[in-house]
Amino acid sequence: MKFRCLILFVCLLRLLHAEPVEILLVATEAELQPLRSKLSAPRTETHAAWTFWTGTLAGKTVALSRADGDPLNAVAATTLAIRHFAPKLVVTFGASRAHDPALHSGDLVVSEKFAAFDGMVSPVTPIGGGSNPLQWQILPHALMTAGEQEKYTVSFPADAHALAVASGLSIPHGRIVVGVLGSAYQINREADRIAWIRQQWGTSCEDTESAHIAGCAQLLGVPVTGLRVIDGADGTAASIVLEFLEAWK
């Protein structure tokens, strides 16, 4: 009887809480699709507006989560995925736009760190004085820490082991460059503003979610890494992620 109760107990617990995974992969729908089609033993679950796919890729248990192209969706989905799947590593990947003029299309930027560059304070300026973003001050995110203290943080750290693994990959085009992945829900096409962002935040490139995912991972105590292909076509970063998973130990 006790044994039957124990079995029931374990089964119900599994229903209530999904299995932990080794790696959480967060990207756009287009970047996730080629990975989703390769998942072994796939399972799908949805929480509110966010859907997750779990299974095995390259011998690793993974959860796939859609970032959906903006910080809010990316942070919400990452929080839910960390809570439900308890990954040991978060990988944010996809395409990005260069801030560093030395970067070229096809280069892979591997995260040394992340910068969420959406914070600003403008100077007091009267009506008619205009608006000049090149004179704004940066406003870093102030992540909550234990003891109810917020800590202003210009950049969030990336996992050193993942950086070493990613730096040893071979990619079809371009170079592998270690850098700062910047994100904001912005598409910056003013060259002077891009230069200003790079000067202030040290960004190598921009996308719409990676640094926010990194901030979320830091809040919840999970290591994070980022792989971003400059001007990458859909699926380019996914093939690099598969290589990364093969190499990851």
Binding site: C5, H17, L72, D118, V124, G130, H141, I187, A191
Partner: protein, 269 residues
């Protein structure tokens, strides 16, 4: 058998989270939650990662008060954790803000007819030396996926505040200033250039700017949870009033009165 059953029930509580509450009340900073925590009857502190929650009762409601921390990353994580842990029927996000409408003064409170994220944009193309023209940037709306169809839905106007909560809030006394319904805009920005303040007020209809309520509104919408935001004016750039953090006391006291006025909430569908 009895011991196993007890163990199982305990495990269910641990895995599924704490007891559900009627209302999740949020503030980004300690000054923004201290009056509300002080009003809690039988308070119990719960910590999840770096985030603190205090549960108890105010009026007829069971409440979890959440110290979210400022801006999108903190408040989105804290909101998801708060919803998953406490399954609230309503979320109240409240705190300080900068006036964007010139008629607003220190300690006035805006009740969110709607809340939106106004900090997202695509710039025009400009070469080196051609500068930056923020008043020409085109806004990008917050999007959420419809959980049934999986398709994106855009929310350029943001998210409406709960109509009955709005009506009750407009009948609640602000001990330190006036109360208006209006639009609350969120971004990780402090705008003190009056031309840009006027631009965002005209473009989005914003009465005040702050850093959380539009993001929390999006999450609440995704979960189908009733939502309302209150923002007290703590700085007023038209009047040259710099940030006065103690203004948070007004919205804290206002929120306690609101909760005391709020009728019992029906169960979630």
């Amino acid at each position: 058998m009895k011991r196993l059953l007890t163990l199982f029930l305990l495990a269910v509580v641990v895995v599924r989270g704490a007891e559900p509450v009627d209302v999740l009340v949020q503030g980004a900073e300690k000054l923004e939650v201290q009056e509300i925590i002080a009003a809690l009857k039988s308070p119990v502190k719960v910590t999840i990662g770096p985030f603190s929650f205090w549960t108890g009762r105010i009026g007829s409601h069971s409440v979890a008060v959440s110290l979210t921390g400022q801006a999108l990353i903190n408040c989105t994580v804290a909101t998801i954790l708060g919803i998953e842990e406490f399954s609230p029927k309503m979320i109240v996000n409240q705190g300080t803000s900068g006036a964007q409408a010139p008629y607003l003064a220190l300690h006035d409170i805006i009740v969110g007819r709607r809340s939106l994220d106004y900090g997202n944009f695509i710039t025009s193309i400009r070469r080196l030396g051609e500068g930056s023209a923020p008043l020409e940037w085109r806004s990008l709306p917050q999007r959420l996926r419809d959980p049934v169809t999986g398709k994106f839905v855009e929310f350029p106007e943001g998210f409406a505040g709960d109509a009955s909560a709005l009506a009750i809030a407009l009948r609640t006394r602000n001990p330190m200033g006036r109360v208006f319904a209006g639009t609350i805009g969120s971004a990780h920005e402090v705008n003190l250039e009056l031309d840009r303040v006027r631009w965002s007020a005209n473009t989005f209809g914003m009465a005040v700017e702050e850093m959380e309520s539009g993001h929390v509104a999006a999450v609440a919408h995704a979960y189908g949870i009733r939502y309302i935001a209150f923002r007290v004016v703590s700085d007023a750039p038209y009047d040259g009033v710099p940030f006065y953090p103690l203004a948070a006391r007004a919205t804290g006291l206002f929120t306690v009165s609101f909760l005391e006025n709020l009728p019992a909430l029906p169960a979630n569908p």
